[in-house]
């Protein structure tokens, strides 16, 4: 006797995934409605890491805000520094010395590589590819060593200053960087051999969490996640800031917009970032690393919005000045927050295992989501 599905009493269950869960990449909580293992509905619940950075900034001088920006996307501190200081410089019309500009590019791109390394490592781990966690982390350690050489910190760098950078690079930095860049292709090849070409990994990721370009644009997704949908949009090319217009690099794009493409595009972007760093190393001029800026930074009354291409997408800073020595209002447009907004749409219909892959593939950092 055949039993129709309708005759069976089945019940949807609600599952709180997080804030303590191995694969939510921080203190993120998803309220999942499950039909068996199938995810019917996803609700994002955030705020567990809210520290009120925007409000805190209103009570700190412009320079004192810089360390707070490290704590936004703590995996790419340099990029946050860069976005913030360039915003203030834009408001004050400060000319940054050439050497500082080049150092900023080198550090920012290193940060981008480090952030992408975390993404590929943790996505591999989230499909239980334990061994693939290690090559990216091994190489990332060398980036952090380079940061430590330069500014003493590894994650919360606070390296950029309004008008330049905090310190010049020490001797030994450039050879170490050169060696790192030489070894990077080997790490990428290791990842490709271990994970990217693995049948199980492909089966787990290809076609999972697919999002088409129109929907992605409607949700405001930016960064590698958008480029994985096929749109070659990168602020470094579209609206170059700093001295990005001097470098030659490609914008890798893939067309499927699924988790697999979001993974692969990070590996491709690492190669492009390495290209930029090599050019910046070749063209690195001498000279000071700080512009002559007043001791007390008092931007003129007004407001400014500046955005850069962060590791996860467009990172924007909106700054209002009332002419005093503290920001009147600072708003941060963080890419992780926007990308996370599309997760319910991406994840619905898959099962729990797909959901984990989807979180990993959109690469969120909770420090940036909650601010």
């Amino acid at each position: 006797m055949a039993v129709a599905r309708e005759d069976l009493l089945t019940q949807e269950i609600e599952l709180n995934m997080g804030p303590q869960h191995p694969s939510t990449h921080g203190v993120y909580r998803a309220l999942l409605t499950l039909d068996g293992e199938k995810v019917v509905k996803v609700e994002n619940i955030i705020g567990y890491l809210h520290r009120g950075i925007e409000k805190l900034a209103e009570d700190r001088t412009y320079t004192q805000v810089i360390p707070y920006t490290d704590r936004l996307d703590y995996l790419a501190g340099m990029l946050n520094n860069l976005g913030y200081v360039q915003t203030v410089e834009k408001l004050m019309d400060i000319e940054v010395p050439e050497r500082a500009e080049y150092l900023r590019i080198i550090m920012a791109e290193l940060s981008r590589i480090a952030s992408h390394m975390i993404m590929v490592a943790s996505m591999a781990l989230d499909v239980s590819g334990w061994t693939a966690w290690f090559p990216p982390f091994r190489e990332r350690e060398r980036i952090l060593d380079l940061f430590e050489m330069t500014c003493g910190s590894r994650l919360t760098v606070s390296y950029m200053r309004i008008g330049g950078v905090a310190a010049d690079i020490p001797p030994g930095f450039l050879p170490a960087l050169e060696a790192f860049l030489d070894d990077l292709p080997q790490m990428i090849a290791e990842m490709n051999g271990l994970i990217t070409g693995n049948e199980i990994f492909k089966a787990r990721c290809q076609g999972v969490g697919k999002i088409d370009l129109e929907t992605a644009l409607a949700y405001g997704i930016t960064g590698p996640n958008l480029r994985a949908c096929g749109l070659p949009f990168d602020l470094r090319k579209a609206r170059p800031y700093g001295i990005y217009d001097r470098f030659e690099f490609d914008i890798p794009t893939l067309n499927n917009g699924d988790s697999y493409d979001r993974f692969v595009i990070r590996l491709l972007e690492m190669e492009q970032s390495a290209r930029i760093i090599r050019q910046a190393m070749a063209g690195l001029p001498g000279g000071p690393v700080m512009a002559k800026v007043p001791r007390v930074i008092k931007p003129p009354k007004g407001e400014v919005y500046h955005q850069i291409e962060g590791a996860k997408g467009i990172l924007g800073f909106y700054l209002v000045s009332d002419g005093g020595n503290k920001p009147y209002r600072l708003h941060i447009h963080s890419p992780s927050f926007v990308n996370l907004g599309a997760l319910p749409r991406i994840a619905e219909g898959g099962n729990i295992q797909d959901f984990v892959v989807n979180i990993a593939s959109i690469d969120i950092v909770l420090g940036e989501v909650d601010r």
């Binding site: 269950i13 599952l15 869960h21 191995p22 694969s23 068996g36 293992e37 591999a124 781990l125 989230d126 499909v127 239980s128 590819g129 334990w130 061994t131 693939a132 966690w133 290690f134 091994r138 271990l194 994970i195 693995n198 199980i200 990994f201 089966a203 787990r204 099962n351 729990i352 295992q353 797909d354 959901f355 984990v356």
Partner: protein, 346 residues
């Protein structure tokens, strides 16, 4: 060296010679049980160490290296730590089911060792339906996992135990069918006879496909990566074991490693010639082969990502099952052709 264990057994038997028959049976049974338990515990404890070292080797790490030479005392420290942990029973748990599940899971894990020929003349109970007994007892593990998952009253645990039922029930079928090829060749279910039949040719050479199917299905059967969906850490924390602490948790892990050893031992018995081998004592050969199998299991675990539940099931029903059936057919036809050629009759 060859007769060290059989010698001990004969000595104990000699001591009991004057006693009534039931005391003899009981005494020998107890001796076998103690022997098997010692084997399981020593192996399981050092397998945890081995697993950590193997994974470290594959991941360019050192692994445990602080406690004792090369970290060899690490398992002892782990065991002491687990013993000292608070034993938590969640308030919402179904208390008795929750408590007995780790005990029940350990029983089949020990029982299956009864038919393993550890060496020449070293088989605890030489059942004439040995392989069948192994499969029948091993399949009851599912019940204990389901009990643990259900009793914990935790959604992750429930999801994990449901996965375990789906997975184990499915993979048992190709596992059994893959062994049928060997049984047809040997003409016996008795493990001692299967080993004896492999004196000249190991069955892995005659049944390579069956060995492959057995390896895959056994990986799924003992919940090891890439089929470790039951305790898929990244999705469902630790599956049925989520709420377990201390010694209860350790029992689950112990039985998991005991199962790993037993499926490796069965693979050695049925495909790799059992204890047959030149020069070295038979039990040492058996151990070496078992550890080669275990190393391959570990190698797979630390290389492959985890498969998805629907792929897992469709792979089983659409690939492994037809393949194992085809293997039985080919084996049967092959046996008949062989008989026709050598004996000149069907």
């Amino acid at each position: 060296m060859e007769n060290i264990f059989t010698g001990i057994a004969a000595y104990i038997k000699g001591l009991l010679a004057g006693a009534p028959p039931w005391v003899q049976t009981l005494g020998m049974g107890l001796m076998y049980l103690v022997g098997v338990l010692a084997f399981i515990f020593l192996n399981a404890i050092y397998l945890i160490y081995l697993e950590r070292k193997v994974s470290a080797y594959m991941q360019q790490r050192l692994g445990p290296n602080r406690l004792g030479p090369h970290g060899l005392l690490q398992p002892v420290a782990d065991a002491v730590k687990l013993l000292g942990k608070e034993d938590i029973i969640p308030r919402g748990a179904d208390k008795w089911i929750f408590i007995i599940a780790p005990v029940i899971i350990f029983i089949p894990a020990v029982m299956v060792y009864a038919i393993i020929p550890f060496g020449k003349g070293m088989i605890p109970v030489d059942l004439n339906i040995g392989v069948f007994y192994f499969l029948a007892v091993a399949s009851t593990t599912t019940i204990a996992i389901l009990m643990g998952g259900w009793g914990a009253n935790n959604k992750y645990a429930l999801l994990g135990s449901m996965r375990s039922v789906a997975q184990m029930v499915s993979y048992e079928i190709p596992l059994t069918f893959s062994l049928l090829g060997v049984i047809m060749l040997a003409g016996s279910l008795q493990t001692s006879q299967i080993v004896a039949a492999q004196e000249k040719v190991w069955y892995i050479l005659l049944q390579p496909v069956a060995f492959l199917i057995y390896f895959i299905a056994a990986t799924a059967e003992v919940n090891r990566a890439p089929f470790d969906l039951v305790e898929g850490e990244q999705e469902i924390i630790a599956g049925p074991y989520t709420e377990y602490t201390g010694m209860r948790y350790a029992l689950f892990y112990l039985s998991e490693y005991a199962n790993l050893v037993s499926v490796s031992a069965l693979a050695v018995t049925l495909f790799l010639g059992g204890w047959h081998g030149p020069w070295l004592p038979s039990w040492l050969w058996f151990l070496i082969k078992v550890y080669i199998m275990i190393f391959i299991f570990m190698w797979v675990r630390w290389t492959f990502p985890r498969i998805r539940i629907d792929h897992l099931l469709s792979f089983n029903w659409k690939v492994l099952l037809p393949l194992s059936l085809a293997n039985i057919l080919v084996t049967g036809v092959g046996i008949k052709i062989y008989q026709l050629l050598t004996l000149g009759r069907w």
